[in-house]
Symmetry: C2
Subunit: 473 residues, 2 copies
């Protein structure tokens, strides 16, 4: 673009001059969450309504300018920041943050894309409802970003991913048209499910501007247990037992390797991490109950008793109150921070069938240990969904920066080859963004990639919607 | 096609001569379930494996021949039978009926498209698991058809539509390639969700050949209640109460208008239909429990007591045993047959937000009563999902055939205008097929239709996959 000014004037006419940012420190929009890439935006544009979004998209289409939609900018895979060219517009949705309507009888809430997840959780809770999506970034991530990346988190075992919580979308297409699909219907078989196509498409097909989401009645009681188990096999056995006895009452099931827990003990000594010792893994287990706390406690104690007798649990504690429950969950949530304190490390967000988790970990651990003696495996994640954060820390005392620089590629190769062998996913909940698009091209089936490319070409023929994400050029 | 013989020879070489049917009575494949249209197939082809399906699709593509995939041929909207031209191949999947694998720890089962739903239900139950999809045609419909049409049924309030029960697909694309997406993963954010695009696409984008589906542990106890309620408002209130007290324990919630029940009493007098009288509606309510029958009974009795006090229930019975429960469900399931006995009628399968059901019915009833004095409204359906079978029976003693012939169009116009006013769906669970494609063109948003057409063109550029379904020529 020779002279940007007329284009910027057009944008200013749509959203107002104060909402077209081109000067000063724009790193809040240009730098990704993990501080891996610092891009350069042509402008950061902050529309306040769906019609403004549509007009911005039309203006960009007319000028041949690419758009990068952005919510809370908390993604893990550099998918919502501009590239370094200075030619892309960042479309920030954070001013569109209203809860439009809540329909108690339909158990739905309609909310704009820029609404922060925690605000939505709190608004629902105030009315006696649960919006179950829950993840580490909930204080700053937005619903639009959660939908665009199909965010996961800790309640998936019961409530599914963001995808499963969405009944309808409002979307601005690549042509700048508004599709109003905010129906709130639980059944609608009138053609292709466009909703699920936009969910998880990472802004490459259009801009999600609002959504109608499911709410649930608040549980009467929630209890948390922390148990040590002798092996991952035992953890899978415990999961099966819990599902059999608790059904939908099982709302959380996380696993943590002993080395991951030892890092929490080391870097956060004020935390009281139970079961220090040789036990291979620990589990955090959450029960939600619609009857009473006494009923929940009875179910949980029965479960743990049976598991102790079966030998799939070695020891267990049940939180006596909410602050104890929070403390137990806090151990699990502190693992990424403890890892960061320990030093740079190589991260993976993989999934396989739950039944394959033990074999996957045993084999992959062995391959890495053989190829990189001393490498320390930090294993934890959402076992109930088959989703592990399988991370590798440099050998003790070694140069973590050099380890990351030199060994990330070969270690990735081992891990992703194993994922492929077990028909797993190289990105269970974080998405592809720009960071993993090369790996997607390597590991996704060519037939699936061909279908994806055909859809992209059909819905975004000029390739202006987040063009750097998902696909290699 | 001047000379069909070389093409038929190619097909015979792929699937074997006995599986290419061209002679004799082919009405099992050519006539739709509701006997509305009798088409004429070029051939009925019955492949036995995914690779045979792929080769048949390739042969058809090479010859420019259209394909109509077919499962149990139990669809309601003439979506799986050939047109009258004699130029379309019916691709019957019923020989591909194996259950390939069951993974207890992953709670998944991988099954071929032609497997009959009831066979899958029974195979799961034998291993201690529930496959919850349940609908009237379950004895003959197939999983492939359930997926292609995103079938609904009576358990959606808890377990969702077929879509929500599917973790992975195997699909033969329009180009005859095989996409193996049978991962069984609960989390996989690696690009567009192709699975959800094929589910519900009614064979217009490719052929579903197998699927990996969710199973659930079998409930320990299931209880059924039958309650009379003073109004639809009261039914919606009862639903809210039930969801609040039972959460996921509520696995069925059906509503039936008193006139619908009177037809069951009239045509099936051996059935003991409770609560004859002036009460406007009755409800069938099902509770599934993971603890015990005593626990379930306690929950259900508490719920009904509170509802009686609130006035949203007038009277209720709870089944004492399984045969009583079956009898209560049987009343609900007998309504379509009782309607048929009463005479031809005008059917709708609509959904609106649950909160809008009372207004929708009151207003639409009034409009029809005014325009067609004496017309009798048969209202029943899956209230928990906002899905009503809103049917209209001719005035008593009048000529039902003439009524259907002359009044279907204007009555449809009233009903679908109301659906549009309430942002509902003109086809909640039956799909579009060829029967409703004109209505789809009238009532679906032009933006959504444009996106659908772009996707169809991208994935089936030669328009050979079930070309008569969904879209008008």
């Amino acid at each position: 673009m020779q002279d940007k000014e007329p284009f910027l004037e057009t944008l200013r006419a749509i959203v107002g001059a104060p909402n077209v940012l081109t000067e000063g420190d724009l790193s809040a929009w240009e730098l990704d969450w993990r501080k891996r890439e610092h891009g350069k935006a042509l402008a950061v544009v902050r529309p306040a309504s769906t019609s403004e979004v549509a007009r911005v998209v039309q203006a960009c289409a007319a000028a041949g300018v690419s758009l990068v939609p952005q919510g809370g900018n908390t993604g893990m895979v550099v998918g919502s920041t501009p590239d370094a060219s200075g030619t892309q517009v960042v479309l920030s949705l954070t001013r569109m943050n209203r809860i439009r309507t809540m329909d108690a009888a339909n158990l739905t809430v309609t909310v704009e894309a820029g609404c922060v997840l925690q605000n939505l959780q709190e608004a629902c809770e105030k009315e006696g409802f649960l919006f179950p999506l829950s993840l580490a970034a909930e204080g700053s991530c937005t619903i639009g970003g959660n939908l665009a990346t199909n965010a996961g988190g800790t309640q998936v075992v019961r409530y599914g991913n963001t995808r499963e919580l969405c009944l309808g979308l409002e979307v601005v297409t690549a042509a700048g048209e508004v599709w109003n699909g905010l129906s709130g219907l639980r059944k609608d078989n009138t053609g292709y499910d466009l909703r699920h196509l936009f969910i998880g498409s990472e802004g490459t097909l259009g801009v999600i501007t609002a959504a109608t989401l499911k709410m649930y009645p608040l549980p009467k009681s929630m209890l948390t247990a922390f148990a040590s188990v002798p092996s991952l096999e035992a953890a899978v056995e415990l999961l099966g037992l819990a599902q059999q006895q608790l059904h939908a009452g099982l709302t959380g099931f996380e696993v943590m390797g002993q080395f991951a827990l030892s890092l929490v003990r080391k870097h956060f000594p004020q935390q009281n991490v139970p079961f220090e010792g040789d036990d291979a893994f620990c589990v955090v287990l959450e029960v939600s109950d619609h009857a009473s706390e006494a009923h929940a406690r009875g179910l949980l104690e029965n479960l743990l008793e049976e598991a102790l007798q079966d030998g799939c649990v070695l020891d267990a504690v049940v939180a006596e109150n909410i602050s104890q429950a929070r403390a137990l969950w806090h151990i699990r949530e502190s693992i990424p921070l403890a890892q960061a304190q320990e030093g740079l490390n190589i991260k993976h967000d993989i999934s396989v069938a739950v039944s394959n988790i033990p074999d996957f970990v045993r084999e992959t651990d062995a391959q890495i240990a053989q190829a990189f003696p001393g490498a320390r495996m930090v294993n934890y994640g959402h076992l109930g969904d088959g989703n592990l954060h399988y991370n590798v820390q440099a050998p003790e005392g070694s140069d973590a920066e050099a380890f990351l620089r030199d060994q990330e590629k070969p270690i990735n190769a081992i891990v992703y080859a194993q994922v492929e062998r077990f028909q797993g996913s190289i990105s269970a909940e974080h998405g592809i963004g720009t960071l993993k698009r090369e790996k997607l091209a390597q590991h996704k089936s060519p037939v699936a990639l061909g279908l994806m490319r055909a859809i992209k070409l059909a819905l975004d023929p000029n390739n202006t919607m987040n063009p750097s994400a998902l696909f290699l050029p």
